[in-house]
Amino acid sequence: MYSVAQLVEYTSSLFQQGFLDDQFNQLQLLQDESNPNFVVEVVTLFFEDAEKLLNQLEKEIGQENNIDFKRVDALVHQLKGSSSSIGAQRVQRVCIAFKNYCEEKNVEGCFKSLQDIKQEYTLVKTKFETLFKMEQQIFAAGGSAPR
C-alpha cells in the first residue's frame, strides 16, 4: 500500500535521476477533470511508438555493414521527438548521441547507442509502470495524487 508521501518521493527521485524532466510536469498539468487519464494515455502511446521504432532500429542496425544511416537517423529522430514530448530525458539524450553517430556514419557508435536506448527505454518503462501503479493504488484508495 503506497502512501502519497512515497509517491512524491518516488516521483522526485525520477526527476533527480534524470529519467524525467520538466516536460513531464507540463504533461501532468494538462490532466484535469475533463481529461483525467491524459498522462497514462500519452505515456502508453509513447510505449507503443517506441517499441515499434526500436524493432525497426534493430532490423536496420542488424544489417551491420549495410546500415542505411539515413533511415536510422529518421527513426531515431522520431524517438527523440516523442521522448522529449513526454519528458523522458535520458531516452532523449541517448537519441541525440545516436543521431550524432549516424551523422558520422560510425557503426560502432550506432551499435552502442542502440544498446543504450534499449536499456534506457526498458528502465524508464519500468519506472513509469511503477509510478502508474502507485497512483492507481492511491486513487483507488480514495486519495489523490498531488500535482
Binding site: 510536469n25 511508438d49 514530448s85
Partner: protein, 861 residues
C-alpha cells in the same frame, strides 16, 4: 798558316756558337824545341806564373810571359782563332789544368774538358775542350802508348762559360731573370763555380745536369728566379672571388632553405592555431548555446510554473509570495540575459535581427514597464516620437528595446523628481534645428525642472560633424532611416570623475549603488555595443544635481516600402489602435508647458484625433466657444486643474453649457495615481476622468473609449505579465500536423487545456487537404520534420492554394501557420519565414513563447 787557320775558324765560328775560340797546339818534343822556335819566330812561353799572379786583361801581354822551362815535351799553340790569339806560343802543358786536359785527351782519344778556371788574358771563367789530333787513324782499342806515339797535336775549344751560359739562357730567362749558377761537380765536395754569382744555399733551385761530352767531368746547372715570383694576383683575385661568390651562393641557399623551413613551420603553426581558433570558436558557440539552453530551461520552468500558480486559487498572502518569487525570477532571468549578452558580445556572436516593427509601440511597452515605478516616485514619464519617423521600420526591435530600457532604467534609478523624457527624431531634424534650439529657455522643459542641454550629449558624434548643419544631410536614399533617441532626466546626474568610465563594463557609480539599486553594471556597455551594431553612436551629457541626458543614434531600414509584400512577420501589430473609432474627432489639450503639451498632443494624434493646444483654462474656453469645430474632449494637465479650484469649477460648468453638439468630455492628466490631490476631486456625476500618465496609445484609447462609449475591439490588456492563453485560444479551431503520435497527443492536450478545439492530422498531405479554403481553422501548428512531405513544403503548397483562391475570389485567406520544431536554430527560423510560415514555437510547447506567437494572430478578430 796561322792566318789561314784564323780566317777559317772565324768564318766557321757560327758553327760553334758556344765556343769563344779554337786553337791548335802542336806536340813538340824537347829536342825539337830550338828548331821549332826558330821556325816560328817565337819562344815557347809558360803560363803558370800568370796563373799564380793573374793580371788584368788589358795588361796582359804575350811578350811578357816567361819562357817555358825545360820540359820533356811542349804543347805550344801555333794556330788560334783571332778571339784567342793571345794564347799563341803559350805552352798548353804549362798550365795545370791544360796539362791534365792535354794528357788525358791524348790518352783517351776523346774530348776532354777542363775544370773551370780563369782564362788567360780575359780572366774569365772558362773551360777548354781538348781533342788530341793523331797522325794516323787509330782503332778504338788502341793503347795509350800507341796514342801517345801517334799524337800530332791538340785542338782546343775555349768555352767562355759566362757567355755560354748567357747565350744558352738568353731565351729561357727572357723575362723573369733566371739566375743561373753552373758548377763543375766532378769533385762532389768541392764544386767549382763556373758561372753565376754567389747565392744563398737554401733558396729553391732547379738543378739540372749539363753534359759537355766529357764523361770524366760532371757539370751541374742551378737555376732560380732572380726575384721571387710575384704573387699571382690574378689567381688570388679570381680564386678569392670565386670563393666569395661560392660563399655567398651557399649562404643564399642556406638562407633560402632556412626561410622555407621557417615559413613552413610558421604555416604549420598557423594551421594549428587556426584549428585551435576554430575549435575555440566552436567551443564558444557551443558554450553559449549550452549555457543559454541549460540555464534558461529551468528558469523558464520556474517562471512558467509560477504563472500557472497565479492562475490557481491563492489567498492574498500566497499571491504576494508568488509575485515576489516571480519578480526575483524575472530579475534573475534578465541578469542571466545580460551576462550572456556580454559573453556574446565578447565572443563576437551577437547578431541583430531584421524584422518589421513599430517603434511607437516599442516605446509604449517600455513606458508601461516603468510606469509603476515612475508613478511611485512621482516622476513624470513621457515619450515623444517625431512625425517624420516612419510608422514601420526594419531592424531588431528586441535589442532596440533593450537599449531604451537600459537607459530608462538607469534614469529611474537615479531620478526622484522632475521627469524622464524620451524623444525620437530623425537625425536630419535635429541637425537642421541645432541653431534654432540654442536660445531655449532653461525653464522650458517637460516638468519645469532644469535639464542638461541635450545638444551637449551628441556633441562628439561623427555623424554630425562630417555633414554641415545645412545642406548635404538630405536622406536621398529613403531606404535608410537615421534615428536619434534621447533619454533626458532630472536626476542626480553622474559625478564628474565617473563620467569617463561610464560605458566600461562592471563600473558602477559607487559600490553602494549596486547594493541600493541592484544590477551588474553591464547595461551601458552592452547598450554601447548594441548601438554600435546598429551603426550608431551613443553619448551623454550630465551635470550633478541637474540631471543627465543620454543620446544615441541608430540606423534602420524603412519598413514602409516593403510592408506590402511583407514576408517578414510584424511584431506588435498595434500600428493604428482603434483609429477608425476616433477618426475625425477633435481634442483640446490645456497645458502651460509647451513640451509636455506637445507630448500629449502626439499621443492623442496617434489615435487619429485632431489636437489643439492651449496653455490655460480661459484660452481653452474661448477655443471651445469659438466653435470652428466641435471639441469632443478636453484633456487638462493636473497642475492646471488643481491650481485654482474655483477656476476649474467655472470651466467645468461652462463646458456643460456649450452651444452645439455634445459637451466635451473632460479628462485630467495626472502623474501618479497615488497623488493626494486626486482625493480632493469633486464628487459630481460628471466627474472628469483621471488618466494616469505616462500616456500610451493603448491605455489612452481604452480610457477614451470607455468614456466616449466608442466600441473598441481591443479590450485586451497587453500586459504580458498576465499570461491568459486561455483568453486567446478559447473556442479557436486549431489544426495540429505531426507524424508522431505522442507529439500530437501532447500538443493537442496542451491546446485543449486552453479551450481550443483541436484537430490532428499526421502528414503534410492531410494538412493541405484540411486547409483548402474554405475552412474553419483559426491557426495551424505544423511539425517541420515529417517523412514524405516536410513542414516547409506543405506550408508552401498551402500558401499557393490560398493565393490562387484569393486571386479568383478577391478575398484574403491567410491561415496563421506556426512551425513546431525541436531544434530552434537561426537558419530554420529564416527558412520558416521564407516558406510562408508566420512564426515558430519550440516543441514541446513553452508557455510564454506560445503566448507570444499566438497573440500575434488572435488579437485582431
Amino acid at each position: 798558316m796561322q792566318r789561314t787557320f784564323a780566317s777559317y775558324t772565324e768564318r766557321t765560328a757560327f758553327e760553334r756558337p758556344l765556343t769563344s775560340g779554337v786553337a791548335y797546339a802542336v806536340r813538340v818534343l824537347h829536342y825539337e824545341r830550338e828548331q821549332f822556335e826558330k821556325q816560328q819566330g817565337w819562344i815557347i812561353k809558360r803560363m803558370d806564373t800568370l796563373e799564380q799572379n793573374p793580371v788584368h786583361k788589358n795588361d796582359y801581354a804575350v811578350e811578357e810571359l816567361e819562357p817555358s822551362p825545360l820540359q820533356e815535351e811542349y804543347a805550344p799553340v801555333i794556330f788560334a782563332q783571332d778571339t784567342i790569339s793571345h794564347v799563341i806560343s803559350v805552352d798548353m802543358l804549362s798550365g795545370k789544368e791544360d796539362r791534365d786536359n792535354v794528357l788525358r785527351a791524348r790518352e783517351s782519344g776523346k774530348g776532354v774538358l777542363t775544370a773551370p778556371f780563369r782564362l788567360l788574358k780575359s780572366n774569365r771563367l772558362g773551360v777548354i775542350l781538348t781533342f788530341a789530333v793523331y797522325k794516323r787513324y787509330l782503332p778504338s782499342n788502341a793503347t795509350p802508348n800507341e796514342r801517345l806515339q801517334a799524337t800530332n797535336g791538340y785542338l782546343g775549344g775555349v768555352f767562355d762559360v759566362e757567355s755560354l751560359v748567357e747565350k744558352l739562357l738568353e731565351q729561357l730567362a727572357s723575362k723573369e731573370s733566371v739566375i743561373v749558377n753552373v758548377y763543375d761537380t766532378t769533385n762532389h765536395t768541392h764544386p767549382i763555380a763556373m758561372y753565376g754569382s754567389n747565392i744563398s744555399g737554401d733558396v729553391f733551385n732547379h738543378v739540372s745536369t749539363l753534359n759537355f761530352g766529357d764523361p770524366f767531368r760532371k757539370h751541374e746547372m742551378h737555376c732560380r728566379f732572380k726575384q721571387k715570383p710575384p704573387l699571382p694576383w690574378a689567381a688570388i683575385y679570381t680564386s678569392s672571388g670565386i670563393l666569395v661568390i661560392a660563399l655567398l651562393v651557399g649562404h643564399i641557399f642556406y638562407a633560402t632553405v632556412n626561410r622555407i623551413a621557417k615559413v613552413e613551420d610558421d604555416y604549420h603553426e598557423m594551421m594549428e592555431l587556426k584549428k585551435r581558433a576554430e575549435a575555440a570558436d566552436v567551443a564558444k558557440s557551443q558554450f553559449l548555446a549550452t549555457v543559454s539552453h541549460e540555464i534558461r530551461t529551468p528558469m523558464n520552468g520556474v517562471l512558467g510554473m509560477m504563472h500557472m500558480l497565479m492562475d490557481t486559487d491563492l489567498d492574498v498572502t500566497q499571491q504576494e509570495y508568488v509575485r515576489t518569487a516571480q519578480e526575483s525570477g524575472k530579475a534573475l532571468v534578465s541578469l542571466i540575459n545580460e551576462v550572456l549578452d556580454q559573453a556574446k558580445i565578447e565572443f563576437g556572436k551577437l547578431e541583430l535581427e531584421a524584422v518589421l516593427f513599430d517603434i511607437r509601440s516599442i516605446l509604449d511597452d517600455v513606458l508601461s514597464l516603468f510606469s509603476d515605478k515612475s508613478q511611485g516616485k512621482g516622476v513624470e514619464l513621457a515619450a515623444y516620437v517625431s512625425d517624420q519617423v516612419p510608422k514601420l521600420l526594419i531592424g531588431d526591435p528586441g535589442r532596440f528595446r533593450q537599449i531604451i530600457t537600459n537607459l530608462m532604467g538607469n534614469s529611474i534609478k537615479f531620478t526622484d523628481k522632475g521627469h524622464i523624457f524620451v524623444t525620437i527624431h530623425l537625425v536630419e531634424e535635429i541637425v537642421h534645428s541645432i541653431e534654432v534650439d540654442n536660445e531655449s529657455n532653461p525653464e522650458n522643459t517637460l516638468s519645469g525642472f532644469p535639464v542638461v542641454k541635450s545638444c551637449l550629449s551628441w556633441k562628439g558624434f561623427k555623424a554630425f560633424s562630417q555633414e554641415g548643419p545645412l545642406g548635404s544631410f538630405s536622406s536621398t536614399s529613403s531606404d535608410l532611416i537615421n534615428l536619434i533617441v534621447s533619454v533626458e532626466d532630472t536626476g542626480d546626474g553622474i559625478p564628474r570623475e565617473s563620467q569617463p568610465l561610464i560605458f566600461t563594463p562592471f563600473m558602477q557609480v559607487g559600490s553602494s549603488i549596486s547594493r541600493k539599486h541592484g544590477g551588474t553594471g553591464i547595461g551601458l556597455s552592452i547598450s554601447k555595443c548594441l548601438v554600435g551594431l546598429m551603426n550608431g553612436e551613443i553619448g551623454f551629457a550630465s551635470e550633478p544635481k541637474t540631471g543627465s541626458t543620454f543620446t544615441f543614434t541608430a540606423v534602420f531600414a524603412n519598413g514602409l516600402l516593403s510592408s506590402n509584400e511583407c514576408k517578414i512577420p510584424q511584431i506588435n501589430d498595434q500600428s493604428k489602435p482603434a483609429s477608425s473609432e476616433f477618426e475625425g474627432m477633435n481634442a483640446l489639450v490645456i497645458d502651460p508647458r509647451p513640451i509636455r503639451a506637445k507630448v500629449s498632443q502626439y499621443h492623442i494624434q496617434r489615435l487619429g484625433i485632431h489636437v489643439e493646444k492651449v496653455s490655460d483654462l480661459n484660452q481653452g474656453l474661448s477655443t471651445i466657444n469659438k466653435g470652428n469645430a466641435v471639441i469632443n474632449m478636453v484633456l487638462i494637465e493636473q497642475e492646471v486643474w488643481y491650481r485654482d479650484s474655483s477656476m476649474s469649477s467655472h470651466f467645468f460648468d461652462s463646458t456643460r453649457k456649450v452651444n452645439h453638439g455634445f459637451p466635451p468630455k473632460l479628462f485630467i492628466l495626472v502623474n501618479s495615481s497615488n497623488s493626494s490631490k486626486t482625493s480632493s476631486v469633486m464628487s459630481d456625476v460628471d466627474n472628469p476622468t483621471i488618466i494616469t500618465k505616462p500616456l500610451r496609445a493603448s491605455m489612452l484609447a481604452a480610457s477614451l473609449q470607455r468614456e466616449m462609449n466608442v466600441r473598441n475591439k481591443r479590450t485586451l490588456n497587453r500586459d504580458l505579465q498576465n499570461l491568459s492563453l486561455s483568453h486567446l485560444l478559447v473556442g479557436r479551431k486549431i489544426l495540429i500536423v505531426d507524424d508522431n503520435g505522442v507529439n500530437r497527443a501532447v500538443a493537442a492536450g496542451a491546446l485543449k487545456k486552453y479551450g481550443a478545439d483541436v484537430v490532428c492530422v499526421s502528414s503534410g498531405k492531410d494538412a493541405i487537404s484540411s486547409l483548402k479554403p474554405p475552412h474553419q481553422f483559426d491557426a495551424c501548428f505544423m511539425d517541420i520534420q515529417m517523412p514524405e512531405m516536410d513542414g516547409f513544403e506543405a506550408t508552401g503548397r498551402i500558401r499557393e492554394m490560398e493565393q490562387n483562391v484569393n486571386r479568383e475570389a478577391s478575398i484574403n485567406w491567410h491561415v496563421p501557420i506556426l512551425a513546431m520544431t525541436a531544434d530552434v536554430i537561426q537558419a530554420t527560423h529564416e527558412k520558416c519565414l521564407r516558406c510562408g510560415m508566420d512564426g515558430y514555437v519550440s516543441k514541446p510547447f513553452e508557455a510564454e513563447q506560445l503566448y507570444r506567437e499566438v497573440s500575434r494572430f488572435f488579437l485582431s478578430s
